[in-house]
Structure formats: C-alpha cells, structure tokens
Assembly symmetry: C2
Homo-oligomer: 556 residues x 2
C-alpha cells in the first residue's frame, strides 16, 4: 500500500449511548463500507411505535460510493434495518456475511418481498477486497453462532470492528475466537479499535455457554412431567443444548412460536443445529406423548404479550396447557424495560401450577458479551493505537474507556462518541472530525420516518391525562353560537360527578362564546383559543388535570 | 384466655401477588385490627394514574369494629393509604406505631390536612390490648429504623405478622431484631405466621447495612471533588452512614430534594439521625465551600423525572451543577420498572463529567429484606403451626412456601393466597374461608376510586394508535349533511401524505353520509356508527393503524 493523503472516515450512525441499532460507516475516498444495519425495539417512551431505525441519510446521500454492507452476525440489532435501507438505496449493494448470518437475513428479506439482494458469503479467516478496502473476518463467540469481527485496511490506516463478542474458552460448537488472527492484525498494525461495550461494567469473565448445558441437564433429570424452555430463537447454541439435554433424558423436542420454528428450520438446513428428525415433533403431534417425554422449546423469554410463552401462561395457547408439576425454564435475562413483563408471565405460570426456573435461581443463562477481563484481552491482543468504545450506553462506553486506560491506551487516544460522531484516520493518527447527521427514524405500522416527536408527544399527553373535545357550531355570518357546545371526553376523570362537571364546563364555555360574539369575533382560530383556554382552566380548577383539549368550531 | 367458638379471621387486602399496598385485616368477633395501610406506585400499564390503593371496602363496611390500625414501619407501601382510609372512616380510630413511624406518618397526614388523628406510640417489646386482641411488638431490622413485627393473640389463636424485615447481625444503630421475643412467642404458641416474601428467591443471607458504610468511606476517601449521594429519603441508616463518612472525610453534608429535607428533619428531631448542626448545610449556603468539602445528599435514586438527581443530571437544578471529576453514588437499587429511568439519569451525569458509582460496580447498596436463610431462621425461631407467605408476587410467595416446607412445615399447613383470601383460625387450626371483596382503587389527581378500567383502556388505546375525530353537521329535519365533514387527528400517522389521506377519508365519509341521507336515516347514533366504521376501515386499509375514532354529529 502506498501512502496517500486521503483520509479514512469512521462514523458510527447507531449504537452509541444506546443498546441497539448498530451501524458504522467506513469511508475512504470514493469507497464506503457499512458495518451492520441494526434496529432497536421501542420502549414505553415511544407509545405505538413498532421499530426504531438509525437515521441513515448520510449513507443515502453517498450511496454511489457504497461498495458493501458487512453484517457481523444475525441479531436484529445488527440486521434489522437492512430491508428498509436496501429499499431506500434502490441499488444492488452486496451484503456480506457468514453463512448463518446470511441465512437468517434471507428469511427477513423475503418477508419484505426483497428477493434480488446480492448476498455474498464470507468465511471467518477469509479476505475480501471492496474498492480501497481490504476486509478480513475473524471468528468471535457470541450468543448466536457464526459471528465475526471485521478488520478493514485502507492506505490511510486500519480499523478493527469487533462486532458483538465474548471469548468462550469452551464453546459448545468448538469454534474458538480466532486469537491468532487478532494477534496477526496487531502485528500488521491496528490504527483504531472499535469494541463492544455492552458488559463493560461487569467485572471478570463472562461464563461459558457450556455451563448452561450442565444446568439444563440437571433440571431435566429431576423433572417428572412436561418441561418448557423459553429462549431467544436466534440463540442456536442454547437451542442445541436444550435439544441435547432433552435427547439425553429420552424426551422429544416440540418447537413452538413463529420465530423459533423459522430459526430452527434455517439453522438445521444450514447445519448449525443438530437434532434427528425423529427427535423433533410438531406441537399438534405432541398429544400422543406422555408429558415426561416432551420438552417444549418456545419464544417469549422477554414476556412479549403475543409470544408462545405468554399465551401458555394465559391459558390460550392452542396446543400447550400447563399442568400442575410442569417445569418452565426461562433461559434468558430480561432486556432492561422488560423485567415486569417477564415477571408477570412467570407469576401466571406459577399460578397454573408450574415450577419456574430462571437465571435468579439456577445458571440457565449466560451473557453473550465480553466482561471486563475479556475486553482487556481484546485490547491486548490487538494493541490498537487508538480506541473507540461502541455498542453501549454512555455509562458502558465510559467504563470501557477506563478499561482501555488501565491496559495502557493513553487517554488522549480514546474517543467517546455519539451517533454521528466522525473520526478521521490518516498517516498522522486519529482525530475528531465534524459530526454528521444522525438520529432516529420511527417505523409505525406502514409509515416510516414521518412520525415526528409531535406525534409521540401527543400520544404521551393522551395517555397520561386523556382528552376533551369541544364542538361548537357558529353561524358564519353573525358569529352567533348555534345550539349548545358539545363536550366529549376519553380517558379523563372529572371528579365525583362527571355529568355535573361537564354541565359546569358547558356553562363556562357558553359564557366565553357570548363574550366573543358580543365582541364580534368571527375568526374561528380566536374562538378556538378562547374555548380551549376556558375549558382547560375549568378542568384544572375542578379536577386538577391537564387533558389534551381539541376545540372544533363548525361554521354553519 | 378462655376457649371460645368464635373464629379469628385473617384477610390480606393487599400485598399478595404484588409488591406494595400492604394491608391485612385481623377480625375476631366484634373486634378488628388492621395491620398496615400501604399504597403502590403505578407503572406504565396505568397511564396518568398517580397512586394505587387497596380496595378497603371490607373495612369500611365493618368500621364500627375497627379498634386500631397498627403500622409496622414508615415506608409508603405500609403507610400511604392511611390518609385516604382515615378520611373514609371518618372516625378517630387510633393509629399505633413506633416513634419514628408515627413521626413520618404525622408529616404525611398534615399534607392531607388531617390533624385530629389519634397517634398512639408503641415500643418494641411493649404490649397493648385492643378489644379481644393482645398485641406485642418485636423489633426487626429493615431499610428504615424502628420497624416492628406484630404478635396478635386472641382466644381463637395467635397470628405473628413480621412486617418487612431482615436479620442484620451488625445493625448500625445497635438495635438487633428481638430474637428472645420471637422465641418466647414460639413457646406461647404461634398459630399462624405471616412473613415477608420479597427476597424469598434470593439465596443465603442479605448483607448487613454496615458493609455499605465501609464502601462509602472508601469512595469518599478517593474523591477529590464534589460527592453526590442519591438514596431513599426514608433510609435513615443509609443517610446516617453518608453523614458519618462525610464528617470522617472532613466534608459538610448538603441535603436537597423535598422528601430528603423533610425526612432528615423529622429523623433528627426524633433522635434517629445524628449529625451536628455545623456539619449540615443548606444548598444555598454551599457556594462558599470548596467542592472537596461537600457531600450532597439527595433524592432521585429511582430516576424520578422531577427529583433532585434527575434535575442535577439535566443541568436544571437551581444550586447544584455537575463539574468534570465529581463523584455521584447511587445508593439504591432500581425498583422493577425503573431500570431504564435510572440508567438514563446515570448516562446524563456521566456526559456532564461525573463518575457514577452504583450497586453494579461497588457495594453501595444492600437490601432491607430477608433472604432465604433469614426466612428459614424466622420460621425456626417462631415455629408456627400454619404459615402464609405475604408481601410478594406469586413467584416470591411460592419460593417462600418451599422454604417453609424445607424447614418442616407440612405442605397442607401452608396457605398461598390472593388479596381478599380469608383464613379462619380457631381451636381446630387454620382453614380457608370465603374470599372477600378486594382489588385496587386508583388515585388520579383529585379523583379517587371512580377511575375505571374503561378510562385506563382509553388511555392505552390513545397512547398506542392516536386519535381521529370526525365532526359532521346534519340538518335535523332532513338528515342532510351541512358543509363538509371535518377530520382532526392527534398522535396518528396516516402514511406519506396526511393531507391526501384525510382527503380520501373525507370522500369516503361523504359517500357514507349520502347513503344514510338517501335511506332517510336521522338517528344520530346510526349516523355516528356509519361514520366511525367507514373511517376505521379506511385508515386500516391505507395506513394499517387502528386509532380511537370519535364521531361527533352536530344537529343544526
């Protein structure tokens, strides 16, 4: 590679100061590579929103430069924005990923009727050239198989992006993280390391996935009735361990829940999940088997209301009913914000007579992200000149920065950024550039992007204090009120007697309208404001609430 | 005590299958005692609700029997319903509690303008007779000082109610749980034990409050700028330890946040909190001190949006601004449901340059509830014939029941109940009786109780899909439409072009109204339904949303 005065720009568009919607742009001259295209699931601050995507207008504005989209692994916070981005790009940009990653992506793209996407398989340990970029892929461990880190080299310098990772010393598929490749990258020179910060606050070493297999086997041995295990569908290693424990205990596996069925099918087709056909049953065929010969594997470990586990807990699953003495294993940890939903499902299962085993009482889950000692190991293996923690809230990014300092990265070589932050890499090192446009795009039903903060604010206001609608008919010529104002409320409490309160409000509005009529006001905007103000004040005085007030003035 | 054929009825009205609003009725013949009168704070499933109270109509229907309300300790989930209950009772029922408990209650009652309440102080180790009830109070440890268990004896049998407790072997106030009293109760005979299940799923022994003091001192020693500690205001032991560590490091303590100021004032007046006047500063007087001479003690450990800590994090606290290098200690654990709010506040503090220390990275918090070994110890100290786990979700109650079985309580002598469950105690033992009315009462602004599920459902619908209002004016004589229908939306997204969508909707509604007019329909209910159905269908077809639709038909 010859020296050049071109710069490599590194721009994370998602995943900083948040968990989710990971997306990082690498741009060098006329070439651009995107690493990951993830989404985020909304919380209660986003009522009615289905999905949150990164604002990727920066990419769309430079789409002629985009040589490839590299996906590090098949989780939705790394792949979920892909269908939307590909539709918006409109061109056939190749999507690079390992075999399982592409298999999972393919299923998602088909749901979006995207059939002509160029999916290009890469192997861990393989190399690909894309414009000015040389890309190497290194195996890492994570809570989904076939994850990779990406080492991107350009004449201006190199970036190593870890993706999501942990170092599992006893991985259940025997696929170790590629320590040799990381060390070799260090020898070649890593200018900038971008590394997963999710568990940076957790001390020590994340436990191996293998410990979960041992716990499951112990639990299965002791159960003398039906066993139900809920987990993430994409956690193929976990699914494998459930299958292995079931078969070892002479039980058949029944898979239920749409995503669990789809994912296990894809994983078996691609040879990532190994269970004999004879050991796998359809939920409808289960009725013939004694309950101590079955393990049900299902979705719903996050307490999602429509999931298989939630429906089993509520007694409205079509084929699976809890009987006293059944064992339910929740083999996952609640994502922050889901704690109460998960607890609700557990309580319902227990009321139906099940014994519920979760992470709090047995080692039925381990994280897929590196804890502090592993993060330090990654830093020491790759020995980067510069470091930017990615994938985490601010607290995690700062904790990761401290770990980096503790292993000798100078504080001035560590960059904590936000979405849209830009780092410039060249022969002189790494420094901050001007930030670019970044943010969120909401997906709400069929509408994408045009859902502003206004709509969300309205929904929040409606949900907290309800609504009062006042309809007034006005004679357009005279400004005189026709009939009596009508008041309609929804989600609003007006004290002991709603009828009295509404009557009082009507009197107040009448008085205001008489005044505006007397003043000769015919501008409906002025009448609306007067009506809104008087009703708002009345409701505050009498009920101490501030509902949204929608005045409607009909001109007749 | 002479034998009798009267029964003792034990009815928990709150605290079963939930954390919060604890309330238990003990009723014997013409005498009734209430143990605790707590509230619960609502979560996101209750938009716009301020508080949740137990439905205590069972008590109101028998209020002439009520001899006393016994409060085990001063937390709001044990005291918060008291102002509402006392107003509804209308009579001067004595409220019994220890000195600090009554001190905190007094403050709350004054806020509700309740000044004539009979507060009657009891001492741990003391005895009180109330009608047929002999009541003994036993000291226990908890995350507020002066907590007691209640031993209630009647001719039909005895009930021991633990309140919230832990066994702290090194309590920082030197006040041990009264092991001798529990043992003596066992000798006298405990027919039924009701015991705190909050931490029944936690193995082992809850750590002593004393360990937090050591952590705080270490953190304070290393800090060279301002220190801010957020905690629950009522956790006087924690507050004491913050004060002690501050004074030991030569720092003054500044208290901010309304409840923190009130509670520390009451605790100092009643001699439960010890710090010299000279070591306590007003937030406005702080400006004169160097930042390494101050510890700020504030509310907001749960991420509450209007709390002192949240305002400091957002930069809009009137007197306290974060400077780079400040240390913030969050000395609490998030209550389930508050995790994201707490994390948001921490991220903001870190962005302003603070180092944030929380339970995940240092031992700055311990629980106030007994873990499994302590719960077994309570069972073995008191040796009850019968057992009912209280204070916990179903999962906690079941875990506690298993602990009871493990120490030899026969399964058939363990009762898992729900709010309103009734246990009957007499010479023959304990058995289940018919359940009584129980449930929730919502407090929303000034309105209490009349806020039905309808209002909550409306708010949830409004928050998830928004709202469309259609106003149609109809000539009352002919049924003909006057003018064009008006459509108003709030919190609703209608696809790429809202204007086009609304125009399309208007056309659809016009068509429906022409049809109803042609059919001679003048009944406004029928017109409303036709308008609602057509708009609902139109929005589903074009935008796949189901907003709440409010049709308004004005007759002119």
């Amino acid at each position: 590679m010859t020296p050049t005065n071109k710069q490599l720009r590194v721009v994370p568009l998602g995943g900083l100061d948040e968990i989710g919607k990971n997306m990082t742009v690498l741009e060098y001259g006329d070439d651009m590579i995107l690493v990951d295209a993830g989404l985020m699931f909304p919380d209660d601050d986003h009522p009615g929103i289905d999905l949150i995507l990164p604002d990727y207008s920066y990419i769309l504005e430079r789409k002629q430069k985009l040589r490839a989209i590299v996906i590090t692994h098949g989780h939705e916070d790394h792949t979920g924005a892909l269908p939307y981005l590909l539709k918006d790009l409109g061109s056939a940009v190749p999507v690079l990923g390992t075999r399982l990653t592409l298999g999972l992506i393919k299923g998602k793209l088909e749901e979006h009727s995207l059939k002509k996407v160029k999916l290009r398989e890469v192997r861990p340990g393989g190399h690909v050239s894309m414009g000015a970029f040389g890309l190497d892929f290194f195996a890492v461990n994570h809570s989904i198989p076939d994850g990779v880190a990406v080492f991107a080299r350009t004449p201006a310098g190199s970036v190593l992006h870890t993706g999501d990772f942990k170092f599992d010393q006893t991985p259940i598929d025997g696929r170790f993280a590629d320590y040799a490749a990381f060390s070799k990258a260090a020898q070649q020179g890593v200018t900038l390391l971008l590394s997963d910060s999710t568990n940076a606050e957790t001390q020590g070493q994340t436990a191996s996935e293998a410990v979960v297999g041992r716990s499951l086997r112990e639990i299965f041995m002791q159960a003398d009735q039906r066993i139900i295990v809920a987990s993430f569908a994409s956690h193929i290693h976990r699914v494998q361990q459930v299958c292995d424990a079931a078969v070892a205990c002479g039980r058949k596996v029944v898979v239920t829940g749409r995503s669990m069925i789809n994912t296990t099918r894809i994983a078996r087709e691609l040879d990532y999940l190994h269970i004999a056909d004879a050991d796998l049953l359809d939920a409808y065929a289960m009725g013939n088997l004694p309950s101590d010969k079955v393990v049900v594997l299902c979705t719903g470990s996050q307490g999602e209301p429509l999931s298989a586990l939630a429906r089993i807990a509520s007694g409205d699953h079509p084929t699976i009913k809890i009987e006293a003495g059944d064992t339910v294993v929740v083999s996952a940890t609640p994502v922050p914000g889901n704690e109460k939903a998960v607890s609700r499902v557990m309580n319902r299962l227990i009321k139906r007579g099940a014994t519920v085993i979760h992470k709090g009482v047995a080692q039925v889950h381990v994280s897929g992200h590196a804890a502090s000692e592993e993060l330090k190991l990654m830093l020491n293996l790759t020995r980067p000149e510069y470091f930017m923690p990615i994938h985490g809230e601010t607290r995690h990014l700062h904790a990761h920065a401290q770990l980096a300092e503790s292993v000798g990265i100078p504080a001035e070589n560590i960059f904590i950024g936000e979405n849209g932050s830009c780092l410039l890499v060249d022969q002189d090192g790494v420094r901050r550039g001007a930030s670019v446009q970044a943010g969120v795009t909401y997906v709400d039903g069929m509408a994408i992007g045009d859902l502003g903060h206004m709509v969300l604010r309205d929904r929040q206001a409606l949900s907290s204090d309800g609504l009062a609608i006042v309809v007034v008919a006005i004679d357009i010529s005279s400004g005189a009120v026709v009939g009596t104002p009508e008041i309609i409320t929804r989600g609003l409490v007006l004290g002991a007697s709603t009828t009295d309160a509404l009557e009082g409000a009507r009197v107040r509005i009448d008085r205001v309208l008489k005044r505006t009529a007397k003043e000769g006001v015919t501008d409906s905007a002025v009448v609306k404001k007067a009506v809104r103000d008087s009703l708002s004040q009345y409701i505050w005085e009498t009920a101490r609430r501030r509902p949204m007030i929608v005045p409607v003035v009909m001109e007749v």
